[in-house]
């Protein structure tokens, strides 16, 4: 139900098209950085995200969160010195599990965001650059096909097809999330294609692929960055529902798994699991959304041109 990806529209770059690519890039980024650093909510969001990231790194390197699977504690223990958030039904420490889940969340978010952005950028750029040709048609057709299969059905189907492989969820998410990025990139590239610098490059015989990779795609980075953050959030949120349906994380623990565990527990009056996982998830998603918003605002070329 949740709109998986968002249709943001930075307005058309109504500035003059005569500028060389590097100068234009620099002015956007420089101005963006400045603007961003003055946006309080964005900085706050970024700060929180970084804190989470450090937590995730810590788990990666085995510094903390390693005892998430030990069944030492009491059943549904309340908060205590040994177990800061209490323990779940089989005595696992909820705090440890929440910390460990941060790593899981980042893994999913990063993998899906990076891969779908790369694929979206590539296919979008190809489609846009060769707009009107068969390459474009095929890519558009592919997008249409993937968009019209309902998301959860698609994920379930992929999970079955891959026979419970732990990467099934990632594959499914990447396959559907790249489409919006692709569409936006394609739109931007179609505009960029007409800029003089592209014609100039062609005129001096630069191969098309080089043009795409060295000149065009870098000019879409602002779109890619924002989309990547949006996909990151979408991936984490989707994981919650997928884990609830049994299609998500297979090994380890995640907030989604903790929440699905807790659906039984809340009836018995034990809320620690539910609250801990929901809180961790909510704060991260919220911070990321704030960060993403500010990023968008900062990178909006129209606004940048005005300031």
């Amino acid at each position: 139900m949740s709109a998986v990806t968002e249709h943001i529209g930075p307005g058309p770059a109504g500035i003059d098209s005569a500028g060389a690519t590097d100068e234009r890039r620099e002015s956007i980024w420089g101005k963006a950085l400045y603007k961003f650093s003055r946006d309080r909510s964005g900085m706050l969001g970024l700060g929180v995200v970084l804190v989470y990231f450090v937590i995730a790194l810590g788990v990666w390197f085995g510094i903390w969160g390693m005892e998430w699977s030990d069944v030492e504690g009491p059943k549904w223990g309340s908060m205590s010195r040994e177990h800061w958030f209490g323990s779940n039904i089989i005595g696992q420490d909820i705090f440890q599990r929440s910390i460990y889940s941060t790593k899981t969340a980042f893994e999913i978010g990063l993998v899906v965001a990076v891969l779908s952005t790369i694929i979206g950028a590539l296919l979008g750029a190809l489609a846009g650059f060769f707009s009107g040709t068969w390459i474009d048609s095929i890519i558009l057709w592919l997008k249409g096909v993937l968009d019209s299969i309902p998301f959860y059905l698609f994920v379930a189907a992929v999970a079955f097809a891959l026979q419970g492989n732990p990467w099934a969820m990632h594959v499914a998410m990447v396959s559907t999330f790249w489409t919006t990025t692709g569409r936006l990139v394609r739109g931007e590239v179609i505009k960029l294609r007409n800029f003089e610098f592209v014609e100039a490059a062609r005129a001096i015989g630069v191969p098309q692929l080089t043009i795409i990779f060295r000149h065009i795609i870098p000019n879409t980075f602002h779109i890619l960055l924002v989309q990547a953050t949006i996909v990151f959030v979408a991936a984490i949120k989707s994981e919650v529902i997928l884990s609830f349906l049994g299609l998500g994380v297979q090994d380890g623990v995640s907030w989604g798994l903790m929440i699905s565990e807790s659906t039984l527990e809340v009836l018995a009056g034990f809320f620690n699991n539910f609250i801990a996982a929901s809180a961790f998830l909510f704060v991260l998603v919220m911070a990321f959304n704030m960060f993403s918003d500010s990023l968008q605002d900062a990178l909006d070329p129209k606004k940048v041109a005005e300031s």
Binding site: H7, L153, M286
Partner: protein
């Protein structure tokens, strides 16, 4: 006449899409999907029984043949009988689709209406505290998991631990009053979750329009706010708004209702689809996915035609 030609051309152009979707979904759900054989067998099956059930389920026929049959089924709208219950699939769909529609429509309409309304308010007071508050709530709405909302609402509104105002689950609808009772909690949950996204999107579109030169000019000329909104802003924003609404229709009907239907025990399309996926009941799956694809293409077509009706500048090429 133009429109008709355009429509036909678009429809024909949509055929590769339908083929693509049906092929991909067939591949995934039917060919690689779960093996329903053992669901249908008893406790101590013999080798012959296993082979017999597989034959009945059609697992032993070659891929292309099965795919061909599938395409035929879509065209004739006859998907046979469910493997699990033996009920004709078309009957199942006829029974469940109206329910799903009745379930999601109020939420859909409300979510979008409220979204546009809030977005208008926010955009109009752009930068002010009203705007910031509304946007703040939107972000919160976007950050909460749908699942959490459903569980929380059910406890708060329907159970005896909470307000106990509404039925916990089920769909026992014989009158308008019953309908309101059963649809309220699911609707509230969906609206809660969708509102954040909707508001943000519509606000972005509206702001886009509002900062256009001709609007600024009109404002400078002292035009009344209502008229401004009406004549200049809403009209131009209509295209992206309509596009978004239209595109979310296929998604909302099938995916969105899935969680709600299972949790609230409402016998709709989403639920039978998910049951079909987990058990591998192919006839039902084939029907749902095929129809969704067709629905999607039709939506695309309808949107295009609407574009044309709305803005004659949009070419029919």
């Amino acid at each position: 006449m133009d429109v008709l030609q355009y429509a036909i051309r678009k429809l024909i152009g949509g055929i590769p899409l339908i083929l693509g979707v049906s092929f991909v979904s067939f591949l995934l759900m039917v060919y690689f999907g779960p093996d329903q054989t053992f669901e249908l067998l008893g406790k101590n099956p013999t080798v012959e029984e296993i082979a017999e059930v597989r034959r009945q389920l059609g697992y032993d026929r070659p891929f292309l043949m099965r795919y061909g049959e599938y395409l035929q089924e879509i065209v004739t709208l006859d998907f046979g009988l469910s493997n699990s219950t033996g009920e004709p699939v078309s009957a199942m769909l006829a029974r469940t689709i109206p329910i799903s529609l009745a379930l999601v429509t109020p939420g859909f309409i409300l979510g979008n209406l409220l979204g546009v309304l809030l977005a208008l308010i926010a955009a109009y007071h752009r930068g002010g505290w009203i705007d910031k508050t509304i946007m703040g709530f939107s972000v919160v709405g976007m950050s909460v998991s749908f699942l959490i909302v459903i569980i929380a609402f059910q406890i708060l509104l329907s159970s005896s631990f909470g307000l106990n105002l509404f039925p916990v689950r089920g769909w026992n609808v014989h009158s308008l009053q019953d309908y309101v009772m059963y649809v309220t909690v699911p609707t509230l949950a969906s609206v809660f979750v969708a509102l954040g996204y909707n508001t943000r999107f519509y606000r972005a579109v509206l702001v886009e329009e509002m900062t256009r030169d001709h609007v600024r000019t009109a404002r400078a000329f002292g035009i009344q706010p209502g008229k401004l909104l009406y004549k200049h802003i809403l009209k131009n924003s209509a295209i992206p708004i309509i596009t978004r609404i239209m595109f979310s229709i296929p998604l909302v009907v099938v995916s969105g209702s899935l969680l709600i239907e299972s949790y609230f025990g409402i016998p709709g399309v989403g639920k039978i689809t998910f049951d079909a996926i987990t058990t591998g009941d192919q006839p039902v799956l084939k029907a749902v996915v095929g129809l969704t694809a067709v629905l999607f293409v039709i939506t695309l077509l309808a949107t295009d035609i609407l574009y044309r009706a709305v803005d004659p500048r949009v070419s029919l090429k």
